[in-house]
Symmetry: D2
Subunit: 348 residues, 4 copies
């Protein structure tokens, strides 16, 4: 079957497996694993920051980066649909004691003056009546928006706003690589905008396991303490880091292929079911499909040998990635198009 549920399903390639088999390792809890260090230095450099920290997942990457900037009893402002408030089981609050307050349309629609007004950076006063905002968190690309890319100038203006407010600007960059490729800029062009980032190796880049926290040396040092507390310190983690380094070195530019394939699939499906698919919103490797019953639609697709995901009761999601080539996407289109054609026309 063709698995288009998520780009997390990518399996290590033979090149990666070879890198893993040959990796030099040490005890990374003692900071002695050369492969982990090489990966951390490479990614920090790529994103224009001083330091990086290898962690087992994007969820842990976000937590360590954010908690290192946000004391318990402060708040992180984010989009109401952000990954950190949807898919991370409330860890910021449950494990870290940090409040989240969410805005609607942070990625695009919300006026920046309104964003600025929402940052309670110096509530001060000796009556302790208002919570302090410590971080503004952006997700780029934003998964629940179908992999949308934030406009560079919006990000830059957010950095000005957060600097003025004394608030850290964080990027949940699980798919920052896709954003950079879509924008045609080097990752560092995006990286430099943020105070802290987390980035994933196991999605479009195809590594089996791993993410990184990226920032200045102090931040990463505090994140390291949180990683230990969470149980994310791994001993001979170099076997994973070697795969990750291979992924960053070999699979970054090819994300453009995923984007092209997603775009072609979006066009195909929009042709057979106008209004259900919006090709202009497929900026990276995802296609959202508006269906009457997402769960049922995914079931019918699976029966035809194509696995798709769901992001809501009436929204299916298709994701292209390293393990699906032109032929596979074409096969998927051949299964999905007839299913969409059968659906009733959308109400106007």
């Amino acid at each position: 079957s063709v698995d288009l549920r998520s780009d997390t399903v990518t399996r290590p390639t033979s090149g990666m497996r070879q890198a893993m088999a040959q990796a030099e390792v040490g005890d990374d809890v003692y900071r002695e694993d050369p492969s982990v260090r090489a990966l951390e230095e490479h990614v920090a450099g790529l994103l224009g920051h001083q330091a990086a920290l290898f962690v087992p997942s994007g969820t842990m990457g976000n937590f360590c980066a954010l908690r290192a900037s946000a004391p318990a009893g402060t708040e992180i402002v984010a989009d109401v649909d952000a990954h950190i408030v949807t898919y991370e089981l409330g860890g910021l609050a449950a494990l870290g004691g940090v409040q989240t307050r969410t805005l609607t349309g942070l990625a695009d629609a919300l006026d920046l003056a309104e964003v600025a007004a929402q940052l309670r950076a110096f509530p001060g006063g000796q009556t302790y009546n208002m919570i302090r905002t410590s971080v503004l968190a952006v997700e780029n690309t934003q998964v629940r928006a179908g992999g949308r890319v934030w406009a560079l100038d919006r990000l830059e203006r957010l950095r000005v706003i957060t600097d003025q407010a004394g608030v850290v600007l964080h990027c949940d960059g699980a798919r920052l690589w896709n954003a950079a490729v879509a924008l045609g800029v080097p990752p560092g062009r995006l990286g430099e905008i943020f105070g802290t980032l987390s980035v994933c190796l196991s999605k479009g880049l195809g590594a089996p396991v791993g993410s990184l926290v990226v920032g200045d040396a102090d931040l990463v040092e505090r994140a390291r303490e949180w990683r230990k507390r969470l149980g994310g310190g791994m001993r001979q983690a170099g076997v994973l880091a070697a795969a990750g380094l291979y992924a960053v070195r070999h699979h970054l530019e090819r994300l453009a292929d995923d984007h092209r394939r997603a775009g072609e699939l979006a066009e195909l499906l929009a042709d057979v079911a106008p209004g259900r698919v919006h090709p202009e919103l497929t900026e990276t490797n995802m296609v959202l499909v508006d269906v009457p019953d997402a769960h049922a639609f995914a079931g019918r697709a699976a029966a035809g040998g194509v696995l798709v995901g769901t992001v809501g009761p009436t929204t299916a999601r298709i994701v292209t990635h390293l393990d699906v080539d032109d032929a596979a996407v074409s096969r998927a289109g051949g299964v999905l198009a007839p299913l969409l054609r059968e659906l009733p026309p959308l109400p106007r």
Copy 2:
């Protein structure tokens, strides 16, 4: 000076002080204080619920009620401007491990179908990818909206939505009394709509200290455990409860006077500074005033013997209450109107 900063500044009346002086008391941690029990039973009955619990503050009332329904690692959905995410120092997250996710316009503008879609009540699935929504929290009246009252039918429809989603509907009813008086309904008419409530005695009702958690017996029992953990168990609390019971019995209906006075003041100020004050938004005991610099405006008013509050950099707040009569409000108007008249006209 005339203190219009907040209705929390009310001082106990002589009737209350007499009630306190004569209060029968016992050890309330042992559940043996007759005055506390009398207050709890009275307020539970007034709001149409089984049980109530006396706590030292509205912040603790909200926490105990909400945490009793919301396990760590679940989320509470609320308005982006709610008291619980603004003025309670992130306690739900910091002390309770509960995530808050906030919506814009929950009180009025937001379509109810969209509210329903935001409740993730049965994310289920064995991959644990999505956080569960445990509570939808409403604040009535909503303080940062200037004491706005929620429409009864909107609340009733929210109850249907939350019931369908298996989510608890909570009311931060610090000023529920004002809402009931403004709507012309008994408090129980509002109380019965919610699964849980917190209500305050120390604001418009004029008691010196205290709030209550209200709900069914099991909920209140769980809240009692949280109150003990927070250090909110007070020994001979009957001295406070007696004042609270006096306040509920004698100061509920007179809230209408506060509302009338606030309305008159709003009209007066709107006349001298059109656009800066919107009398139609003064539904209860608060007047918001749009000024170039709220802090400076409050300073000038104080110099004239009138204390006003601020709720944002360009918004001042005036609150009427038990300790200000017609004469005091008139004096306040005489100070504030000239200050407003001096301000530059608003840009169109």
Copy 3:
């Protein structure tokens, strides 16, 4: 009936009630309540510290004082039987994220070199392998030990040890007043030994509600923020503070009467049931009684009109206080002695 369960059951005297009725008050969340300020200044001075903060309970006093010194992810070392790990529902961990590690015999038997070795003050190192100890907490008198008083020189040596280790020495002084009276020293002689303290007004001193956090100005300021987060900020709290100030001023020296009565009762009961009561351990206002079934014993005593507490399955507790005079204690002895005489002799 004669209520000897705890000194918390004391009811406000008429002098206190009068003080409450006449109390000048203001909004203490705005720091404007003169009675609260007067109490805070008086108690700070009495204990030889810069500042104090009024809170609703000893549990909250301990939490605010301790959490203000102990960041989440650090540890507090205390006795295995301390109130903070027995009767406060795990709040330090549950609300504050602070670990407790407990030692056996901290009050007396444990060698001080061993105590010093247990403080992990500078675990440092970049591998983050060992938790840091932030506070050593003492409870004086220690309730589960029957109101035992710590030796002054042991406390002073603990202060040297904690200073050397960079660890704060805290006193849970719910009954510090009793310790001072038993030692025949002013409270400040004890107070000055500690970096932070919490003290209660509602136990032997007889106030209806309230405790205080005591320490230097910075510490108390941080405690104030935690008090707000916990919901311990009370509006016109002066009505309680006035009772507390009366209690500190009028009921401190009379604790000696409670101690004398407890001692006499211990002697009486030891005479009829040798080995079950140890008068030499009654240093303050408590008598522990070793019985086969503490719950059953308390039941039989209650049937005779005497209420006693239990601190374990085979340990009953008798506490003298403001509301029991010589006659009442004599009546209690008349009920309890026969009950003890009936018990089987203790096994040797």
Copy 4:
């Protein structure tokens, strides 16, 4: 150099690397990784339990197992020197809101009746005055005791005690394999005694990364949710699991060699420095050495090409493992013996 700091420093063997290179993988967050499933089933079976869960570290294994049994606001009782209160940065409290209360001598000296008395399993009562004990945690072998093995009958009697108290008996089994080998019993003989366990693959067994939570199906399911929240869900984790499965299958019995080598080294060092090393306490793969300055001693050893650890200011630790053979241990002895011989004789 010969690295005897810890058995965590073991590097994957070529057999393991081959297993990793050939591992079948899937997305383990979707529960589709066949290698992870095979490892989980194998280890669950080996320890006589229904289910197991692969996690990145022993710290996470302990947290997930313990938090799955211990709600926030309950307590875990453990030894004062347990790994969970020493080397896990307070995660149980900081992340999980669970109190730890620690006993001295839990592993051996403490009377079991006293242990039973310390479990507050049914504090009940409607006054919520006493915290509830949810778990008793044992560490076998106990690292800070130098790898001591718990007596089987003591463990069995603890299980009876905890069952009677309604408390879960957990084993931090980071080195459970060593305990089983030292006792000459299959791991399941130990596993069946406990309600929950965590076991490590990356220590004596030599795998690069990974631990497992072991227990019944419900427990493991709850642990899985906590793993996700902590960020311990790894995508194609089969590359690690394959190494772990290889380790369990091939390196379990050979732990006897580590134990023999540690014993021989202990004898050698005790000969040259009587009283500084106690061979009778080396029951598994560790030797503790009493020195005037552990840090300085480790430095001198390192200069001689032998790396040793420290577990206290005057205690050095030597650990044998998969990567040190007879020759290496012999070389280490040749360096360490002269260093010990130079030390001043111990005071009597």
